[in-house]
Symmetry: C2
Subunit: 208 residues, 2 copies
């Protein structure tokens, strides 16, 4: 299969496919001449995955590249998952040092109670700290007060996520399913949460 067909089958314009090739989101086709190449069904699959991560997952092209590179090198799974995290380095000086220290303490306490492994320079931990610090500086700490309850839900969800990966044939499939499940899972769960909130809110407050 060549460009035009790849484009047809994936629904991605030719110009965009070339862009993804340049950006390393899609491996080059098998060369058959100085300016010809052949693509396979793997390219179609990959293209669909890329579009899903971009459109539904909301990742940037750079983030998709990192994630896919990790998938391709068969990195350890937990290493891959952290990459999917949107890195939100708050603008310098936005959050005062005090709020951040407070947040770090919360996270360390939580991690100790849960038995979670936290390295301070893990981007996921930094994201968590930044979010807690922001909540603190907004004066909205109700959520932080229930951090342990949310963490327990997170643990259950992680169990569910893992159970999802059982029975998958090979390691590459497992890693890909983990990435998809995590990234699209965030979007999916956010929507479920909204519906559940709507339901619970209507029950509690009789909102129309």
């Amino acid at each position: 299969m060549r460009m035009a067909e790849l484009s047809d089958r994936s629904g991605v314009p030719v110009a965009t496919i070339k862009y993804y090739l340049r950006e390393g989101l899609l491996p080059p086709g098998e060369r058959t001449g100085p300016n010809q190449a052949r693509y396979g069904s793997g390219h179609v699959r990959r293209l669909r995955l890329v579009r899903a991560l971009l459109d539904v997952g909301g990742l940037s092209v750079a983030a998709v590249r990192e994630v896919l590179a990790a998938v391709d090198t068969r990195a350890a799974m937990h290493g891959v998952l952290g990459l999917a995290q949107r890195n939100l380095e708050l603008r310098a000086g936005q959050v005062d040092e005090q709020a951040k220290e407070w947040a770090v303490e919360r996270v360390q306490g939580l991690a100790a109670r849960r038995g979670w492994p936290v390295k301070p320079d893990d981007p996921v931990v930094e994201s968590l700290v930044a979010t807690l610090a922001t909540l603190h500086s907004l004066g909205r700490t109700e959520l932080v007060d229930r951090l342990d309850s949310y963490a327990e839900l997170a643990d259950r969800m992680a169990e569910l996520d893992l159970s999802t990966l059982g029975g998958l044939p090979d390691r590459e499939t497992v890693v890909e399913a983990a990435v998809v499940g995590t990234v699209l899972g965030d979007t999916l769960f956010a929507a479920l949460r909204r519906l559940a909130q709507h339901h619970a809110s209507a029950r509690s407050f009789g909102d129309t």
Copy 2:
């Protein structure tokens, strides 16, 4: 307080504050002359909220404007919450009609089992349908097979979310807390989920 001080106290550049004023993310100051205005502590709070929704929540300026307009008009709470949803209208024709119908059926079945209120044209429902359809077209239906389990977690989380709003003084505070809790809550929970996954993955697979 005037511009310079508002900028200092909020950490947002003057030019950016003017931009937010133009965009309607920040109400105008109290006029004291044809080209003078005064700002209060409410403006500082609002500015911090705007930055939190933009930076941590990842909302667009347009989305923040919608959410804040809803907060200001004291709309019914569940109406406000849906607005915070990132609307992901997949590129036309990206998902085939079959996958979408399949997804709609799943959502309707789920809603019936859970007692959730779903209107087909609700953007949250559309987001959910689009995500399920994408998972289907990727061939990754493991997650969809466990949709009920995820929905149950969503229900528990919604309970937790609601309990967070108890004891808040006035309606405006409740609505603001709901928005912050939902939007920043998504970010927060995503990070918790990653840490929990890492933990569970290490236990199950002995990944280093």
